[in-house]
């Protein structure tokens, strides 16, 4: 009834090829942006912004990066944590070596450095495929973390190997890192970057580059036969994916925690991001956000839940219940919808078109 495209005529190619061709979708997206940029900062407590929304956004960006590589280009990777660490350490080195650099420049350069590192570690993907590639990228994870631990130069010879973000502003007194940054400022800064890169990624995967990635994913031999060059295509996927992961890592170290040790990006982080992509839905921009929401928000909700309903139980019991329920929910969602939450979203939209008179 409400979600119907009847009467919406596309008079030009431009309209026909829009990201959101249906008017209701466009309204929904504008509404969502208004909620994200205006309503959430206005009504949320600091707890919500800094411990729920911020990690959700940053990890969604990392999941977006991995989704480009695994979901769109079909290259299974377990090196996400290592690339995030590269972004974080590159941003730290840039910010301390050139204190006058603007934070956006620092973060973008950190992303570019990570893209370079990603290209190097993407080279084996030309010969290795599938699970074997996952093992090869696992090597990058361990190598990068080892490297940041081993060489003092990366941490400016700090005795503990921990890096700490200097206070930086976007303009004037609008601090987004350091102790004087407010939760709202951090949230808005991260949100702007994440929205920008989400739109950029969406457009990229609709372009010829994205189509090449998907061709390689679906059948690499067929793709090669129709004239897609493997080397640049796969390396472009690695570069762009690492670029996004590097930016996510820089945001994590600078905007979210403020100080970070290499262990914050260990292999568990890689698995966490991979699970986000799998649960959210491979090959879907929306899926990265849904997966991140599921993995970040659900455990926090579960550990808060007994308190909210006034049940007083020991903290260790809450933790154990949290693990069990979380595990059970992952199984439940993967069984009812193996294609991830993004597919559920799509099904919901299809049903909504027929509502309230389904046939």
């Amino acid at each position: 009834m409400i979600y119907r495209e009847a009467g919406e005529f596309k008079a030009s190619y431009r309209e026909d090829q829009a990201i959101l061709p249906i008017r209701q979708d466009r309204w929904f997206m504008w509404g969502l942006m208004a909620v994200a940029f205006l309503l959430i900062p206005a009504i949320s407590s600091q707890y919500w912004l800094s411990t729920i929304m911020l990690p959700f956004l940053i990890l969604a960006l990392a999941a977006l990066g991995l989704n480009v590589l695994t979901g769109y280009a079909g290259q299974l990777s377990l090196g996400t944590g290592g690339f995030m660490a590269t972004g974080a350490f590159a941003a730290y080195k840039l910010a301390t070596m050139f204190p006058e650099l603007h934070i956006v420049v620092v973060i973008l350069l950190a992303g570019l450095i990570t893209a370079g590192v990603g290209i190097i570690f993407g080279i084996p993907s030309l010969r290795i495929k599938g699970f074997y590639l996952a093992v090869a990228t696992l090597a990058s994870q361990f190598f990068l973390i080892w490297m940041f631990n081993k060489f003092g130069w990366f941490t400016n010879y700090s005795s503990s190997g921990v890096i700490s973000a200097p206070p930086m502003t976007v303009f004037g007194d609008f601090f987004v890192t350091g102790p004087h940054a407010t939760a709202v400022a951090k949230y808005l800064f991260a949100l702007s970057l994440v929205v920008f890169f989400a739109i950029m990624t969406k457009n990229l995967v609709r372009s010829n580059i994205g189509r090449e990635w998907m061709a390689v994913r679906d059948m690499d031999i067929a793709a090669e036969i129709i004239g897609i060059k493997m080397l640049p295509t796969k390396l472009k996927a690695f570069a762009y994916s690492s670029f996004l992961c590097g930016i996510a890592g820089a945001l994590w170290a600078f905007v979210h925690t403020g100080s970070v040790e290499p262990l914050a990006f260990d292999v568990n982080r890689s698995f966490q991001i991979l699970f986000m992509v799998i649960i959210g839905g491979l090959g879907s921009i929306m899926g990265a956000f849904l997966g991140s929401a599921f993995i970040v928000l659900l455990p926090i909700f579960l550990s808060n839940a007994p308190h909210l309903f006034g049940i007083n139980i020991a903290v260790d019991l809450i933790s154990h219940i949290e693990f069990m329920v979380f595990g059970a929910l992952i199984l439940f969602f993967l069984i009812v919808e193996p294609h991830g939450l993004a597919r559920l979203w799509q099904i919901a939209k299809e049903k909504l078109r027929l509502w309230p008179f389904p046939y």
Partner: protein
């Protein structure tokens, strides 16, 4: 009911419940809230549970015996971090505004969480107390106004270990040409003592070699073959954590390295780490910044007031002497003494983090006060000032006899002059990077 409807219902329920999650729980306005970040679950729980029990027991003892502090009841809430940094940050943010005045101080009990909170505590004006872990250079209170590191730091611990070795060998002059190795957890925590040990090696002429062990530390065969068969050091120091400790001790036994020349830092000296190593652990030594055993006055009171009435936090009164339990007691004691000092100054009502920071800046837990509490010999007196956020930084050496720890030395002082200069240099570097102006200390 078909499966789609089940899904819809679950999602709807989750959304509704999620939107309620921000609602705060009601607290009594006249009681002092205390938030405690603990790890009762996860891979390190065996060391985390006794700490949490010790902390809770001391707070409960004050509530049961004295009705709180200066008549203000204490309201303890735990949050389980599972030793995970993300969860720890979430716990801190969840607890920091609870109660009438918010969380008076935070003890994150993990180096990772400590680093993640360094910026946040400055903004929130909540003191961060890291007893025997965290940033050693936070001893400089001018640059870290909200971070407190009593009773000891890793750098001090390294110096104390060398001090003890020199006493064993008959003076610092005898260290020349000796070989000392460090086996460490390859993380921020494990790397802390390296700079100090390198400086000491240069100063006293011993040969220092380091052996990083990657997390979690279950595989150390190659490390120990190198130590035991090739290098053959005179002493081995260990900065280990969790399962790495027991593994290292077993490997040391396998290559025949004498356990009484093997000295661990305090986090390599939990009872829970020794028991899995079995007989191999006998003779192994560890630094401790607190006394061992449960023969102290405060334990007797806890047993009488809590365990006799079935209100104890640990499984049984037997567990109250564990090293980690005593550390929990000590952390609770530092916090409650600071709370009391803040209340004495600002009035007997719940105090804020800023007021507690004021009290910690001039905290004085004297020998007499420890006697009063029944903790003389258990803890070292602590005197803090605006500049000095560490205190004496002393530790004891203990030896595992197969069943329990035995104290084998008196309090050993670190070389404060050298360390102070190192703390200040490191803190100044941090201040430069972060653009912090040191606060004036009158």
């Amino acid at each position: 009911m078909n499966i789609t409807r089940v899904k819809t219902t679950i999602i709807a329920a989750a959304v509704i419940a999620g939107s309620l999650a921000g609602a705060a729980t009601a607290f009594a306005a006249d009681s002092q809230f205390i938030g405690s970040l603990v790890y009762r679950t996860g891979p390190y729980a065996p060391g985390g549970i006794p700490w949490a029990d010790g902390f809770a027991d001391y707070i409960n003892l004050l509530n049961a015996r004295d009705g709180g502090i200066n008549g203000v009841k204490l309201d303890l809430e735990e949050c389980d971090t599972a030793y995970n940094t993300d969860k720890g940050v979430e716990c801190y943010e969840r607890l920091k505004n609870n109660g009438a005045t918010g969380m008076p101080a935070v003890m994150p009990l993990s180096t990772g969480i400590t680093y993640a909170l360094l910026d946040r505590v400055v903004a929130d004006k909540i003191p961060l107390i890291t007893s025997g872990y965290g940033r050693a250079d936070a001893a400089d209170g001018r640059i870290f106004p909200y971070v407190f590191v009593p009773p000891a730091t890793y750098w001090g611990g390294a110096d104390i270990a060398i001090n003890y070795i020199s006493a064993q060998e008959g003076g610092y002059g005898k260290l020349k040409g000796k070989k000392i190795a460090l086996v460490y957890h390859d993380s921020a925590y494990g790397k802390e003592p390296i700079k100090t040990l390198e400086a000491l090696a240069k100063q006293h002429g011993f040969k220092f070699s380091k052996f990083p062990v990657p997390h979690p530390g279950l595989e150390q065969k190659a490390t120990w073959l190198k130590i035991g068969r090739q290098l053959r050091p005179d002493y081995v120091l260990m900065w280990g954590w969790g399962v790495m400790n027991a593994t290292a001790i077993k490997e040391a036994a396998a290559v025949g390295f004498p356990r009484d020349k093997f000295i661990g830092v305090w986090w390599s000296g939990n009872d829970a780490d020794m028991i899995p190593a079995g007989k191999a652990a006998t003779g192994y030594k560890s630094l401790q910044f607190n006394g061992v055993g449960s023969d102290f006055g405060v334990h007797k009171q806890i047993k009488k007031e809590l365990y006799a009435k079935g209100k104890g936090s640990a499984k049984s009164a037997e567990n109250t002497g564990e090293v980690a339990y005593n550390r929990g007691l000590q952390s609770a004691l530092i916090l409650t003494e600071a709370l009391q000092a803040a209340m004495n100054h600002y009035g007997n009502k719940p105090v804020t983090g800023e007021q507690v920071a004021w009290a910690l800046d001039r905290l004085s837990i004297t020998e007499d006060r420890l006697k009063e509490i029944g903790a003389d010999g258990l803890f070292d007196p602590i005197e803090l000032s605006c500049v000095d956020h560490l205190g004496k930084g002393r530790a004891k050496v203990t030896q595992w006899d197969g069943k329990q720890w035995k104290t084998i030395s008196d309090w050993i002082s670190p070389n404060s002059e050298m360390l102070r200069a190192m703390y200040e240099a490191s803190a100044a570097q941090y201040a430069k990077e972060k653009g912090i102006t040191p606060r004036p200390c009158g």
